[in-house]
């Protein structure tokens, strides 16, 4: 008799206990996984399926008033290689044989697409670096062709590059992104309008965290979080792109022809204060700013002595204070002494019987001082500041120079300065301020703040327009009208004949001033012409400033021809019909 067969109980009990323990183990493990570790394991699973995308924000466009895009963001890809991943790259043909593999295979596929030498590319793809830049600014079609090759270890990162489709047009005022050393793809600082309008132009980057399947597609009902990128707002300027281009060409040509150092042109809409053109010679495409050098707007950053173009302030002052009328008579010598200081006219002439209008037409310094001799110093200063000298215009550009106006009672306002300010010497203005004086005269005596930004509109529908209000009256309408008539005499009967525009009545003033040049000598001439057109109902004020012309220094020779070109172009662009009436002649002599 077998004992084991006779006693099955202990074994069964042993097996039962064993099975029970195993089941308990399973149960415990199940509870541990399902209850204790559930969240952590689920999160770990999600994490392995989650993909994070950064979405760069598109910067807003800057547009001219006519809709021409002056600055915009264009998509580009930075193409990079992971050499470690490329080492694992294998591509098989339809028969299952390895067709391409590793860096050699990747280079063979990529080289013809990106236009690199295959051997050179193979060298770039070989190694143990996880990040090797290949192409810095691939256009999307190129990146698409690269990505379609499906080479493992080749990555493309989307970013936006600032582009200036109109090239150098308005480059001086648009500004450009600074790029710090070693940070070429991530500009952080700007100049020009790119700086002043940065808050509007800057978008908000977005990101997405998505649970994806093997093919990269979102898993239905899976995790999805993030915010989409928000583009910046578009800024619409007051500039007319064609006029800006014409003004830049005109001043560039004249600077070259006259052997001048530089020049600027400002064109204003006298009724609104909108800046139609703000051109500087030598302006380059902002995209090439780093290589070629691009300063800001010389028209607002540099100051000069306005010279005889500033006499219009004195004329306004004597008319407004009742010291004179356009037909007041004066016997004007070519030299005279005021306050113990000797002054001369530009040219020796016999004592002439000129009216106030004639004094302006002939641009006589002596006559101007004679007309204003009874005006107190404070009034002289007040009129200079009322016309905008000595304070910034507030135009939307950085680094505007407020200019210089000395204050009566200070050491700088001496016996000579109190007289020289009457004919535009001893004061410093920028070109925009100088043009602003004529805007006031052309607008019936009301100053409209010059501005470059007309409106802006955001992707979320927000939009706004620059409001300038009704302006600020500086002189009476009668005085302004009289001044326009006097300035017309300058063009018809005086120094500004070269500014005449066929079919249109023109009012304006020439100017030449002498400044201390870079070499310390007083041989640096600033030639200018500032005018209004059409004189019968002024629409535009155009200021032309040319620095240190070599072939001539006269405003009539150097600056007025540029005025004529730019003003003619502007009148056409604004659809201003030619003048049909004749000017009222104001006597210049008596």
């Amino acid at each position: 008799m077998r004992q084991g067969a006779a006693r099955p109980g202990p074994r069964q009990r042993f097996i039962r206990i064993g099975v029970l323990l195993v089941l308990l183990g399973f149960g415990a493990r199940l509870i541990y996984i399902q209850a204790v570790q559930a969240d952590a394991l689920a999160a770990q699973g999600v994490t392995t399926r989650m993909v994070h995308y950064d979405e760069p924000a598109r910067r807003g466009d800057i547009l001219a008033a006519d809709g021409t895009i002056l600055a915009t963001d264009v998509p580009r890809y930075s193409v990079e290689a992971n050499q470690l991943e490329i080492d694992l790259f294998v591509r098989k043909d339809s028969h299952g044989n390895v067709a391409y593999a590793g860096a050699a295979g990747a280079a063979e596929l990529l080289a013809p697409v990106i236009g690199w030498d295959e051997t050179e590319l193979r060298g770039a793809l070989t190694g143990d670096s996880a990040w090797v830049p290949l192409i810095k600014d691939a256009e999307p079609p190129l990146w698409r062709r690269i990505s379609e090759l499906g080479v493992r270890g080749i990555f493309g990162t989307l970013y936006y590059e600032r582009s200036y489709p109109a090239g150098a047009v308005a480059g001086n005022i648009l500004g450009y992104p600074f790029k710090g050393e070693g940070d070429d793809d991530h500009p952080g600082h700007y100049t020009g309008l790119e700086l002043t309008e940065n808050d509007l132009l800057t978008g908000k980057p977005g990101s997405r965290d998505v649970e994806v399947g093997g093919g990269g597609q979102p898993i239905p009902g899976g995790e999805y979080s993030g915010t989409p990128a928000r583009s910046g707002c578009d800024v619409v300027l007051t500039l007319d792109s064609d006029l800006q281009w014409a003004a830049q060409n005109a001043i560039d040509d004249q600077v070259a022809e006259m052997g001048a150092e530089s020049g600027s042109v400002v064109a204003l809409d006298v009724k609104t204060g909108e800046i139609l053109a703000l051109a500087d010679s030598g302006t380059v495409d902002p995209a090439e700013a780093r290589e070629r050098g691009l300063g800001g707007s010389a028209a607002v950053e540099d100051i000069f002595e306005p010279g005889s173009t500033g006499k219009v302030v004195t004329m306004a002052m004597v008319l407004e204070t009742g010291e004179a009328t356009p037909t007041s008579t004066y016997s004007v010598p070519w030299t005279a002494t005021f306050g113990g200081q000797v002054f001369k006219d530009h040219d020796e002439h016999a004592t002439s019987n000129w009216t106030l209008n004639g004094i302006l037409a002939q641009s006589s310094n002596i006559g101007t001082m004679m007309a204003a001799q009874n005006v107190p110093d404070q009034t002289r200063y007040d009129y200079l500041t009322k016309f905008g000298f000595g304070k910034v215009t507030g135009v939307e550009l950085p680094a505007e120079n407020p200019g210089i106006v000395h204050v009566p009672g200070t050491q700088w306002w001496d016996g000579r300065t109190r007289n020289t300010v009457l004919f535009g010497q001893g004061v410093g203005v920028n070109a925009l301020q100088a043009a602003g004086v004529y805007q006031i005269v052309g607008n019936g005596g009301v100053a409209m703040p010059p501005h470059l930004v007309r409106s802006w509109q955001c992707p979320d529908g927000r939009t706004d327009t620059t409001t300038v209000g009704k302006g600020n009256r500086v002189i009476s309408r009668d005085t302004a009208n009289q001044l326009v008539g006097m300035l017309e005499s300058v063009v018809d009967d005086g120094t500004g004949g070269t500014a005449k525009i066929t079919g249109y009545r023109v009012a304006g003033k020439t100017g030449t001033s002498e400044m201390i040049g870079p070499d310390g000598n007083a041989d640096f001439f600033v030639s200018s012409f500032i005018g209004l057109a059409p004189a019968n109902d002024p629409r535009i004020a155009v200021a032309v400033i040319v620095n240190d012309a070599q072939t001539s220094s006269w405003g009539a020779t150097v600056a007025a021809p540029v005025f004529k070109k730019v003003a003619s172009f502007a009148l056409q662009r604004l659809d201003v019909p030619p003048s049909t009436d004749e000017p009222v002649k104001i006597p210049t002599t008596w």
Binding site: T68, S163, P165, Q217, P218, H346, S363, K500, A522, S552
Partner: protein, 160 residues
Amino acid sequence: MSAIPAPVPRRASTPEPTTRPALRVVRPPRRRVGYALLVIVCGWLLAVGVGAVLWFNTTMAADAFERHELEVELADLAEQRAIVLERINDHESPASLADRARDLGMLPGTHITYVRLSDGSTIGQPVAAGEESEEVNQESEWAGEESGEESLSQPPEAEL
């Protein structure tokens, strides 16, 4: 004599006449078909539910793929649009237009003539592009200029 009472004689039982109704075959109670219907409906609902869930899930998965493909296509199209706009912007810049016009032999028109609709008259003098009218070439008889200060009393020789 016994104290025990004498037993009362039991009356002999006499058969009573039968009064209950005659037995008849009853029909078995109707089966509770409601349960079966419930089971069928539940089964049907379960099947439809499971089928619907499967269908919805399959559709959602397919839609997810389609959405992914469409998003990729959208991104591609957006990039293509950006590239095309970039080309257009380049072509419509003032400098490009001027170059193209010059290549076509065009010249800037400097004298525009307007027609006044009220009386049909023309305003301005038409001049062919590239030609200057006599008036345009008129120089001021007064050839001199002015200076701001006495230091300019001796202008460059070319102007004297």
